[in-house]
């Protein structure tokens, strides 16, 4: 069954067809979420929430666009919402909240860890979608809900900012 057929069946309420879509996209989404989130718990929650939302709003999906770009759009919004909610929670009891989280095991020397600290979330997203997902500028602009020139400028500025970063320079030399 093709992706479009699966989507159409899922739109009519076939949860098993939607599960097939989940299986096809969960690795890509989860990798992106691991690069963007601070803890496993956060990435796990956002992944599940993203798919639940996708199912709820499946009828609003436009087949003109790739299904993956639509999923990434939902994931981006879900992360933003989740992080805002948890920031509020974190300020109430910072230490307790951190100690309850699963320790993040991604290599501290992973460049995406550094990018997360150095750049704004939107810029991290643009870099991920461009270099890892290899989306076109047009597709990224659609996910980010921004103009194509905004995406180009953002990409350019991020690269300059990273090139001027001494920590990154050391990291690149080590590689």
């Amino acid at each position: 069954m093709t992706e479009q057929q699966l989507i159409k069946k899922a739109q009519r309420g076939a949860t098993d067809c939607f599960s097939q879509l989940v299986a096809s996209y969960q690795l890509r989404l989860y990798s992106y979420l691991l690069a963007r989130c601070a803890h496993y718990q956060e990435a796990d929650d956002v992944l599940q929430e993203t798919f639940i939302k996708a199912y709820q709003y499946l009828n609003s999906y436009n087949p003109k666009w790739q299904f993956s770009t639509w999923l990434f759009t939902i994931a981006r919004r879900t992360i933003a919402k989740y992080q805002t909610q948890n920031q509020q929670h974190q300020t109430i009891n910072d230490e307790d909240w951190i100690s309850n989280q699963n320790p993040y095991e991604i290599d501290r020397e992973n460049i995406w860890q550094l990018i997360k600290k150095q750049l704004k979330p939107k810029s991290c997203d643009v870099l991920w979608f461009f270099y890892v997902e290899q989306y076109s500028i047009k597709e990224i602009s659609q996910i980010m809900k921004q103009s194509e020139s905004w995406v180009k400028t953002n990409l350019h500025r991020s690269k300059i900012k990273l090139s001027n970063n001494s920590a990154l320079e050391l990291m690149l030399e080590a590689h």
Partner: protein, 126 residues
């Protein structure tokens, strides 16, 4: 530098992907997602509640209207018949005025109820 940056970005993303793969093998998210979706589909749809509320509102309004209609209809009391015609006319003035004022309101109310009934019929036919 930029080439090296691009290369490192891709290589490090691969490391994250490998970690994601391992984690997905350990935790079966698709099962918990499917379970949550099934729970959601089993829940009655919100629009059913909306329709039920619309129907009950229509019925209540109709009952209230029926009650009001009975109380607002001008009725000439029986004892007035035995009274002289001039006095009868004078006593009838407030009733006639009330009737003239109320009549357009009643007609408007009836029109609203007809619309509501039509809407209810349309809703039920969906």
């Amino acid at each position: 530098m930029k080439d090296k940056l691009e290369q490192t970005l891709k290589q490090n993303a691969e490391a994250i992907k490998a970690q994601a793969q391992t984690r997905l093998q350990q935790t079966d998210f698709s099962q918990s997602i499917e379970q949550r979706l099934k729970q959601q589909t089993n829940k009655p749809r919100v629009w059913w509640y909306g329709m039920a509320a619309a129907v009950s509102l229509t019925v209540i309004s109709w009952l209230v209207f029926q009650q009001q209609k009975q109380t607002t209809e001008p009725v000439i009391p029986v004892e007035m018949v035995s009274q002289p015609p001039v006095l009868l006319n004078l006593q009838q003035i407030p009733i006639t005025i009330e009737h003239k004022v109320n009549q357009p309101l009643i007609q408007e109310q009836q029109a609203i109820f007809t619309d509501l009934k039509r809407l209810k019929a349309q809703l039920l036919s969906i």
